[in-house]
């Protein structure tokens, strides 16, 4: 099993993370990479209270996170970590600032104006988000669309090929 899950989820920490991903991965650490939540005492404490005891929760702005460390490289660390980004824009920003990962899980991207491509029931993408994800794919990142561990993972590259063929 992979050590870390790097995930895009517009709901950040919510039921799917608490009840599905944490037990599935036996995660012992969650990193919430978000400029609005980091430093917001109320939102930070709500998330801390929701996460089961014994699991470390770290809040970090995007720029700080990218500079702080590259968790995938921590070879002396056997913990399983979930790294959460609210949007594709945010994870791309972290990537551009130096955060590297081999796999990206796209769990929930809510339907908004401009997000005309739908993959599965919970991921809606705009043209520029598709381009950004394709860039990651070309750079060797395995991008999967999957809300919860029990869902069948859908390869982003395959899915985009399919929706383009529609």
């Amino acid at each position: 099993m992979k050590r870390s899950l790097v995930r895009v989820d517009n709901r950040l920490v919510h039921g799917q993370i608490l009840e599905s991903w944490i037990p599935f991965l036996h995660a012992s650490c969650i990193v919430v990479v978000n400029n609005e939540v980091a430093g917001d005492v109320f939102r930070e404490s709500v998330i801390r209270m929701a996460v089961p005891r014994g699991i470390e929760v770290v809040f970090c702005g995007i720029d700080d996170f990218a500079q702080w460390q590259n968790p995938e490289k921590e070879s002396d660390n056997h913990r399983h970590t979930i790294i959460l980004f609210e949007s594709i824009e945010d994870v791309i920003r972290a990537y551009r600032l130096g955060f590297r990962f081999e796999d990206l899980n796209v769990g929930n991207v809510q339907n908004n104006v401009g997000r005309t491509r739908k993959i599965g029931t919970r991921v809606h993408l705009s043209d520029s988000e598709i381009e950004d994800l394709m860039m990651l794919v070309r750079l060797g990142v395995d991008v999967e669309i999957r809300s919860v561990p029990r869902d069948r993972p859908v390869s982003f590259a395959d899915a985009v090929g399919n929706t383009r063929g529609d």
Partner: protein
């Protein structure tokens, strides 16, 4: 009358209210909001705002939600306001059944506290009760 809004994953809230009404008859001043995967958070917040306004008859609104940390609870918490909106998580049928009798004569804070405690107290391990009875 203190208003009540049940906010849950999927249609759990609607069905809990229906189940309570089977037992208790028509529940007044109780609304529900369903949170599912297809709807955006902003859209849900709008629906919540409307539901809370509608439920508020001047004595405040109690939001009952299912899972602390889940999206329904996360959205509900953004509406917390002293003496106006309280949030209790872990909603169950005993809470809904008790609510109509309990809310008269209580402030919102008292009512929220009472319902949280009542919901907690009404979870039993049946075999433990039976064992206790046979011991007596």
């Amino acid at each position: 009358m203190i208003g009540v809004v049940v906010v849950t994953h999927g249609n759990l809230g609607r069905e809990l209210i229906r189940a309570a009404e089977l037992i208790k008859g028509d529940l007044k001043g109780v609304a529900h909001v369903s949170v599912d995967a297809t709807r955006g958070v902003e859209d849900l917040k709008k629906e919540m705002t409307t539901a809370i306004k509608k439920a508020d008859k001047g004595e405040g609104v109690l939001i009952l939600t299912d899972l602390f940390g889940g999206t329904p609870s996360n959205i509900s918490l953004s509406f917390l306001k002293k003496d106006k909106v309280e949030v209790v998580t872990g909603v169950n049928l005993p809470m809904l059944l008790k609510m109509p009798d309990a809310r008269a004569g209580m402030t919102l804070a008292e009512f929220a506290d009472f319902i949280a405690e009542y919901g907690r107290k009404n979870i039993y391990l049946a075999s433990a009760i039976l064992n206790r009875k046979t011991e007596n």
